[in-house]
C-alpha cells in the first residue's frame, strides 16, 4: 500500500451546503397546508480544497464560519447540497470523542463500542486493546462503569481509541486539549508520529499553539467561504487581528 508523496487524498470540488433556516421544524400538517417560502442559509459556499497526502491542515475561523460543517462533509456524516467530495483512504473523524459512550458500561466495553463507531473492525480493537488501555493509563478504573469517571478520564478513553484507530486521514474537531499535562504530552507525541508516517490531518482548532506545532497548512473560513489558504504565517495574522 505504498503511495507516492504527492497523491491527492481529499478533493472538494465547488461544494456548498445550505440549511433551511427555521425557528420551528415543519410538521407534516404544515407541509401540506402551507407553501411558505423557505429561507435557506449557506453554511458553506463554493469551497474548493485539494489536500495531498501527508498535509496537516488547520482550519480556523469564527463561530458559525462553517468549520464543523466542512469537517462533517469530509467525514461523510452529511452530504453537500451541491458539489463533489472525493476522499481516498481510511478516514476517522472525531467531532466529539465522547459521542458514542454509554455511561453504564465499563471502560473496556466502551473502548469496543467507540472503536466500532469510529469504524474499527472488531479484531483490530482486540489486537490493540492492551496498547489502548496502557495509553489511557487510568489503572483499575478501566473495569469500572463510565459514570464513575472524571470528565478528563472519559476524554482520555475517547482520545486513545481514536489515536489507535490508525487511519490514513484523521479529522478532528477542537476539544482534544484533553487530560493533564502528562497525557497531553503523550498525545502530542502521537500526533508527531502521525506526521512522520505521512498521514493526513485536518484539524479545526482555536488553539494556535496546537496548529503551529502540528500543522503545515492553514485554511481560514469566513461566513462559509475560504478567505485564506496557505502556510502557517496566516496564523499570526489571524490571531493578532482584532476579531470582528
Amino acid at each position: 500500500m505504498k503511495k507516492t508523496r504527492k497523491n491527492t487524498v481529499i478533493l472538494a470540488k465547488n461544494i456548498s451546503k445550505s440549511y433551511l433556516l427555521r425557528t420551528e421544524r415543519p410538521t407534516a400538517i404544515e407541509k401540506i397546508f402551507s407553501k411558505k417560502k423557505t429561507n435557506r442559509r449557506f453554511a458553506l459556499k463554493n469551497i474548493n480544497i485539494n489536500i495531498k497526502q501527508g498535509e496537516r491542515v488547520g482550519v480556523i475561523g469564527n463561530n458559525g464560519s462553517g468549520k464543523t460543517t466542512l469537517l462533517k462533509i469530509l467525514a461523510g456524516i452529511t452530504q453537500p447540497t451541491s458539489g463533489k467530495v472525493l476522499v481516498r483512504g481510511k478516514v476517522v473523524s472525531i467531532i466529539d470523542i465522547t459521542a458514542g459512550f454509554h455511561l453504564d458500561l465499563n471502560g473496556i466495553e466502551n473502548i469496543f463500542l467507540n472503536g466500532l463507531i469510529i469504524g474499527l473492525r472488531k479484531q483490530e480493537i482486540n489486537q490493540r486493546l492492551d496498547k489502548i488501555i496502557k495509553f489511557i493509563d487510568i489503572g483499575d478504573y478501566i473495569n469500572a462503569p463510565l459514570y464513575t469517571y472524571s470528565a478528563g478520564m472519559i476524554l482520555r478513553v475517547g482520545f486513545s481509541v481514536a489515536i489507535f484507530s490508525n487511519p490514513d486521514i484523521l479529522l478532528i474537531d477542537e476539544s482534544f486539549a484533553v487530560g493533564d499535562e502528562i497525557f497531553r504530552k503523550k498525545a502530542i507525541q502521537k500526533f508527531e508520529e502521525f506526521a512522520e508516517q505521512q498521514k493526513t490531518l485536518v484539524v479545526v482548532s482555536h488553539w494556535p499553539g496546537f496548529i503551529k506545532k502540528n500543522c503545515n497548512r492553514v485554511i481560514h473560513l469566513k461566513k462559509g467561504k475560504i478567505v485564506h489558504d496557505g502556510g502557517l504565517d496566516l496564523l499570526d495574522l489571524y490571531f493578532t487581528m482584532p476579531q470582528c
Binding site: 410538521t27 456524516i77 452529511t78 453504564d104 463500542l113 466500532l116 473492525r121
Partner: protein
C-alpha cells in the same frame, strides 16, 4: 457490500445489541435473571386473570392468549421503542459516520433475544401440560424470521419518518393499541363477520399470530389466503422502508 464490510456491519449491530441488553440489566439485583423472570411473571398474571374471565371459547385459553401476546409484544414494543430512536441518538448521528440502521436493528435484536427466551419458556410449559407436534415446531424459526423482518421494516420506516416529522412518534403511540385490537390476539377471527376480513388481509400480524398458534397449539389457520397477503405486504413494506431509509439517512444530520 463486500465480505469485510458485511463483517463490520454485523459486528457493529451485535455490539450495539449487546450494549442494549447489558445496559438494561446493569445495576438490577437479579441481573440477567430478569430475562426469565419477566416472561414467567407475565404468564402467571395472564394465567391468573383468565382463570376467572374467559371471553372466547377455545381450549386452553391461557396458552391461546399467551402465544399471541408473545408475538404481539415483540412487534409493538420494538416499534414503539425504535420510532423515536434516531432523534434520541442525534448526538451520535451528528458526530460519527456509522451504519445508522444499526441503531434500530440493535433494538430489534435485543428484543429478539428476549423473545426467543420467552418462546423456550413457553415451550417448556406446553411440553409439561399438553402435547406438541414436531411438524409445528419446525415452523417456529420461520415465524421468528418473518416477524423480525416485518418488525424491522416497520421500525426503520417509522424511525426515519420521525426524523422529519416528529408527529410520527405520537401517531405510533396512538395506532398501536388500535392495531392490537385489529389483530386476533385475544379472539379468533371466525367470531367476526366475514365483511371485516379485508382488514386482516391488510394486517400481516394476523398470519403471524395464527401461525404461532398453529405451531405451538395446533390450532388450524382460519384462512390460508391471509398468509399470501401477509407475506406480500411484508415484502412491500420492507422494500419501501429500505428505499426510504437509503434515500433519507444521508440527510439525517440536517434535521436533527
Amino acid at each position: 457490500m463486500n465480505k469485510d464490510k458485511f463483517r463490520y456491519w454485523l459486528d457493529f449491530n451485535i455490539a450495539l445489541a449487546f450494549k442494549e441488553i447489558k445496559a438494561r440489566y446493569k445495576y438490577t439485583v437479579f441481573g440477567f435473571l430478569w430475562m426469565f423472570l419477566n416472561p414467567v411473571l407475565q404468564m402467571l398474571v395472564i394465567g391468573f386473570v383468565f382463570r376467572f374471565f374467559v371471553p372466547v371459547r377455545v381450549d386452553n385459553y391461557f396458552l391461546f392468549l399467551f402465544s399471541g401476546l408473545l408475538i404481539w409484544n415483540f412487534f409493538s414494543i420494538s416499534i414503539t421503542r425504535a420510532t423515536p430512536m434516531f432523534v434520541y441518538e442525534r448526538s451520535l448521528i451528528q458526530k460519527a459516520k456509522f451504519p445508522r440502521e444499526a441503531i434500530i436493528l440493535s433494538i430489534i435484536f435485543s428484543n429478539l433475544f428476549h423473545f426467543v427466551i420467552s418462546i423456550f419458556l413457553l415451550l417448556i410449559f406446553v411440553f409439561l401440560t399438553s402435547s406438541v407436534s414436531v411438524k409445528g415446531l419446525l415452523l417456529l424459526p420461520v415465524i421468528v424470521v418473518w416477524l423480525t423482518i416485518l418488525t424491522s421494516a416497520f421500525s426503520l420506516i417509522f424511525a426515519s419518518l420521525n426524523v422529519r416529522f416528529r408527529d410520527v412518534n405520537f401517531l405510533i403511540q396512538a395506532i398501536m393499541p388500535i392495531w392490537f385490537y385489529a389483530t386476533p390476539v385475544m379472539y379468533t377471527i371466525n367470531l367476526l363477520p366475514k365483511n371485516l376480513y379485508w382488514l386482516f388481509h391488510l394486517n400481516p400480524m394476523t398470519s403471524l399470530v395464527e401461525l404461532m398458534r398453529y405451531s405451538i397449539l395446533n390450532i388450524p389457520l382460519s384462512n390460508s389466503t391471509f398468509l399470501i397477503s401477509g407475506l406480500f405486504i411484508t415484502i412491500l413494506i420492507l422494500i419501501i422502508s429500505m428505499k426510504y431509509f437509503k434515500k433519507e439517512n444521508i440527510y439525517f444530520d440536517d434535521w436533527l
